[in-house]
Symmetry: C2
Subunit: 307 residues, 2 copies
Amino acid sequence: MDITFLGTGAGVPSKKRNVSSLALQMLQERGSTWLFDCGEATQHQILHTNIRPRKVEKIFITHLHGDHIFGLPGFISSRSFQGGDSPLTIYGPKGIQAFLETALAVSGTHLAYQVEVMEVEEGLLYEDDHCTVHCHKLDHGITSYGYAIQEHDKPGELLVDKLKEEGIEPGPIYQQIKENPVVEYNGKKLYREQFIGENKAGRKICILGDTRSQESTKDFIQDADLLVHEATFAKGETELAYSYYHSTTEQAALLAKKANVGMLILTHISSRYQDDDIDALLQEAQSVFPNTKIANDLSTFQITNMR
Amino acid sequence: MDITFLGTGAGVPSKKRNVSSLALQMLQERGSTWLFDCGEATQHQILHTNIRPRKVEKIFITHLHGDHIFGLPGFISSRSFQGGDSPLTIYGPKGIQAFLETALAVSGTHLAYQVEVMEVEEGLLYEDDHCTVHCHKLDHGITSYGYAIQEHDKPGELLVDKLKEEGIEPGPIYQQIKENPVVEYNGKKLYREQFIGENKAGRKICILGDTRSQESTKDFIQDADLLVHEATFAKGETELAYSYYHSTTEQAALLAKKANVGMLILTHISSRYQDDDIDALLQEAQSVFPNTKIANDLSTFQITNMR
């Protein structure tokens, strides 16, 4: 599972940072990619990655500000034009459906695949064999959400060495032990729990939209392996951050620490900060929460289980 | 007066050609720039030019296909964010207003300047001291327009040498001669027509949206100094061009020749053509109409009076 940042700037695109979007690539886990936000020119950024639009299965929109949604009509049109034919589900705050319907109707766009738009509220949003997705309200002037992807735990591996010690050689019996709490073999009862290693804990990934730092987010992101949090402003700009409904580097790091997350990635960096300033921003956060990174456009990070 | 191409591809963006937009820069003539079409990431392309969004006075949309309009909400939002405060007028087919209103309302965008949206029909669209703009219906499945910008002729220069020969030395009398058909000076009648050079003809620039080649466009573009015409397909693909409501290189060149235009620039090149193919496309057109160019992204051409 990898996360690739397609746009890491705030408000308007610059030469260095496009407006917001990121891709959660889960090709091994589910053969698909999910996008979070889709600012203008997200499809252009994708041209410089290995992401295939046809493999994008779901798009989660954190909030409806233009720098997070204006690339959506173009992305979904091009996905069709380029032969994408599998269904796509789009989750976002109320209003996302009207935006998309108008853009597609006015432009006479006919998609070669089915789009389902789900206008979301707090709580459990989605569940399947691989994971759940929950949604949590943030503090941003207009409705803004954070999403938590929680993988299910996976059963441990079969302890082959131990089975062999007991004289049980590989064969269909291995599969039977895996699938049943108890099986009989050569007149002997074999208990699964004795021959299966520990459960592999599923990962928890939290991706938040624009927000002021707020205490109530702590429980939602508790123990996440990865937290993606905005850091529009430097540590010293708490008043500016508050008045524009954004966070500082230090506020994001404090939240990560309190919630005991594994890794923090900062994004949504104001264009007031140049290349030279990035190290200072990073250090402000790392002095509070050491395992912090700052995302650049097209940065990719592997998401490992931190537990 | 310069024309800068911001996107010269067809349908979807590629690494080489963005979707449609071009800028007519008239800084000397009127201190402003006009955009024609505004495909996604037009504002991103502008970052690589000397165009200032705040100087963009008018945007003309040829038709509502996504690759010509999906950059509009982002452009007008960023123009405001970056301090643009002068009014902006947007012209386009019916539907453009609903698209913009929905995009701005849903995203909670408040502009720091006034936007007027004019849904256009064929005929005279606009007139001021500098020029007129007319609009002509093309043949593209959905309503698509061409725009003709006709500068007014400018009165010729005062023939100072001739005035001096007649013993009339520089002074307020020069201005009087310029402004009146006839003036008296030292008891002598001076006729303006004798002391003014020939009128300087205004330029005519025609910028067409996507279209099949059609005979009825000839009169509209007659004697234009510059014609910008789409050439989605190569000469041999007339059937494909017809069925997708587009033109070939040769069809565009034939129209330019019949209408006696000064220069032809081809744009809206299908992504099926690579760098290596461009010379062949150009030669197909030049063999019919020699003064043809093919636009690339960020190409700039000076528009001179060809008469």
